[in-house]
Amino acid sequence: MRSNIVKLIVLAIIGIICILLYGFYDIKGGFDYAFPRRMMRVGAMVVTGFAIAYSTVVFQTITHNRILTPSIMGIDSMYEVVQTLIFFFAGSSSIWVVNQYLNFTTALAAMILFALLLYRTIFRADKYPIYLLLLMGMIIGTFLGSSVSFLQVLIDPVEYLSLQNLLFASFTRIKVELLFIASIILLISFILGYKLLHQLDVASLGRENAINLGVNYDRLVMQVLVLSSVLIATSTALVGPITFFGLIVANLSYHFFATYRHSVLILGAGLFSVIALVGGQFLVEHVFEFNTTLSVIINFVGGIYFIYLLLKESRAAG
């Protein structure tokens, strides 16, 4: 346990170094202009990083695997689907769009429903092996994605522009106005989620054992699914979907901290996220001076890592 605390502190220091580097590197002249803007981005990356870390780790605990993540199952595509449907049926000047809170809550409600539906139909039954689930998740993602593009072609071009504005988010085009709300949501979720952590530690023993030990398993699953949907919705609204990121940071954390304690795992995954996002953005922007977005690189690295994990699992299974 003590060595894990040391590891966490080391990670936190590296994270802070990354943030400082990103904040102060090559900041000539317009300090007053550039610094607050960079800090806004850092803020968004920290919020996203922790949101993804939390939702991925708890999702993997209740589904008992280390490969499936909420975004691989297409839960974040649901955000785009709902926004597109709103624009398609109600239009950009309707209350569903103008009222940001209503808009966000609607998207959130749909994502929670989708997560519950996925859990009820394909996880709970235990009848599908993990590879089939993965493939289904990916194809569901493709299906939602292409249905969105199909509907988007049908939308009036002027409406489409404002929809694009709502959906087109990335690390370089972070929606600052959302950052404040997102941080509050993250904070509340973490406070509420803190109480669940010990139950989750027990839940990793499996459903039957957890129930024997006095955990109300089904209620726990429900709470966890709702909470991680909230966090995914928040991070998707803030920076858009990043498919393989949760997979990388969660698995890094499992390997680095050989523990079952969710407080350590989640904190560790969160710190890895911050280091990867802020450090990665620093490298992309200032060291390599790529035109590429960070997501492209994350998808590349994440894709290779994913294949590696699959091959490793398959050896264990075969």
Binding site: M136, M138, I139, F143, F150, F290, S314, G318
Partner: protein
């Protein structure tokens, strides 16, 4: 389902396809060969129909070849990185030669599609664990990795818009003079028919094939070359059409079984019918505008694939 029913459907759909479009053309207009309508018919509508037929037949056959060679129902140009490799090849030819000629694009795209598919087949050989679902999973990820390499270099070379035009498979821009490359897939399809039984035998595995006196490597390479040729010609003229090579051979296999000589004609005609339906939907829904065919194919194709996954685990084995 009888073959003639499919052929009849294909003919009716072709006829519909010829007479849909922003400009109203009636069969009677064609009697006057000099009229504007007749000109449009010859320059735009007929080439479009031919392109759909060639692409639909070609992609379906490419999928069928890959499925029998790998003995896995879920391997296809979409799920083995072939199409993504072809795209990467086109991008590299543009980066290397600032004004890549058509021939250079064809050669690069072909070499990449071929090498990319071979590499995937090599990876498959290494995998001991042959769950039928595991293979397309690796294949899709492999395609995603290739595709992110393409995106990376496209950003560096300011070619994002350029590659997005071939990401989008569409028959909108097909006019006479812009689709003839697709005829290359005709001999490829004929060869596929002639070698059908050998592909099946090669799919049984190297040792088995050699025991039966088959030159395994040659047959395997021939099959993959045919797949690469078809994929290249389709990506270069129409763009990426996903799922076609995956869905069509599987539907045929469900109602006809796996005797390639018998299923090839069905696969060809069903591929044409499927693509014609998707294209017609895309042209009618937002008339007089169009939805690119790859979007319609992806929506219908991924849905069908999902259904297959949900009900067909026993069947896939």
């Amino acid at each position: 389902m009888r073959l003639w029913v499919l052929i009849l459907a294909a003919i009716i759909l072709s006829f519909i396809s010829l007479f849909i479009g922003a400009i109203d053309i009636k069969p009677a207009d064609l009697l006057d060969w000099d009229s504007q309508q007749a000109q449009i018919f010859l320059i735009s509508r007929v080439p479009r129909l031919l392109a759909i037929i060639l692409a639909g037949a070609g992609m379906s056959i490419a999928g069928l070849i890959m499925q029998s060679l790998s003995r896995n129902k879920f391997v296809s140009p979409t799920t083995a990185g072939t199409l993504d490799a072809a795209k990467l090849g086109i991008l590299i030819s543009i980066l290397l030669f600032s004004q890549a000629a058509y021939m250079q694009k064809i050669i690069f795209s072909f070499v990449f599609a071929f090498a990319g598919t071979i590499l995937f087949m090599q990876i498959l050989d290494r995998i001991k664990f042959k769950d039928p679902v595991f293979v397309p999973l690796i294949g899709i990820m492999y395609g995603n990795i290739l595709s992110s390499i393409t995106t990376f270099f496209a950003y560096e070379g300011d070619l994002i818009q350029n590659i997005n035009t071939w990401l989008m498979g569409s028959f909108m821009l097909i006019i006479s003079g812009r689709y003839e490359l697709l005829y290359v897939s005709v001999p490829a399809i004929i060869l596929a028919y002639l070698y059908a039984n050998k592909f099946t035998v090669a799919g049984m595995g190297e040792d088995f094939a050699k025991n039966l006196g088959l030159s395994y490597k040659a047959v395997l390479n021939l099959g993959l070359i045919l797949v690469a040729i078809i994929s290249t010609t389709v990506v270069l003229t129409v763009g990426v059409i996903p799922y076609l090579g995956l869905i069509v051979p599987n539907i045929v296999s469900i109602y006809m079984g796996d005797n390639l000589r018998k299923t090839i004609p069905h696969t060809i005609v069903l591929g044409v019918v499927f693509l014609l339906i998707c294209d017609i939907i895309g042209r009618v829904v937002v008339y007089p505008y169009e939805i690119p065919v790859n979007v319609t194919v992806a929506v219908i194709g991924s849905l069908l694939f999902l259904i297959m996954l949900f009900r067909g685990r026993a069947y896939a084995k």
